[in-house]
Symmetry: C2
Subunit: 122 residues, 2 copies
């Protein structure tokens, strides 16, 4: 895997980690200490801030997991990729989005620039 | 126009400015002094670096202009949008891409994260 693909894999591990302890560990593996995450609904920095956003998404969408959509397109220290939030029970995917990430020299994520392509209609 | 749309409009003014003096002025209007531009073929910072990339694109594609594709999707200090490089003579568009920008507090661009969706086949 490229450095970009490895970073994206760690990113999804963090989003799909279960329980506060595993989320905290996965976030620390994926993001730098001062790493940021920004999407239309959140704008946080630091491991605790990112972990809180992930825990909040789990509360809002229990039984769902984040899955990568398509390939990772990376160059220099940046990459783009799509994702869906998929119901493990029935495969429905009410939310889809698109992220650009910037990596630090150690390969961890320093910045996430997140956008939403599909959101629940109800 | 939103702050995001204004920034994107200035971005295209810079890409379509003609002549070293006008490019330099448009780049200074669009980017902060320490602003960066990164795409698969370039990774520069500062007004002179950005201006050199724009001048290089004009040399490679004389008679073309950069046009926004679709809407600007912005939130917080970031935005995404698409673009095409269009021949003014025949309307062909051999290159298309997609950028995420981050804005400074003064509304100018601090970072550009650029990706290519279509490139010339020959």
């Amino acid at each position: 895997m490229s450095v970009h693909e490895t970073a994206v894999a760690r990113y999804f591990e963090a989003w799909n980690a279960q329980g506060a302890e595993d989320i905290a560990k996965a976030v620390a593996d994926a993001w730098t200490e001062d790493g940021t995450y920004t999407d239309p609904l959140a704008d946080v920095s630091g491991h605790a801030g990112v972990a809180a956003v992930i825990a909040g998404a789990h509360e809002q969408f229990p039984g769902f997991e984040f899955r990568q959509l398509g390939e990772v397109d990376g160059h220099h220290s940046i990459a783009r990729f799509g994702w869906e939030l998929v119901s493990v029970a029935d495969g429905s995917a009410p939310v889809a989005g698109f992220d650009v990430i910037e990596l630090a020299e150690d390969g961890r994520i320093r910045r996430v620039f997140g956008f939403l392509d599909r959101v629940p209609t109800s």
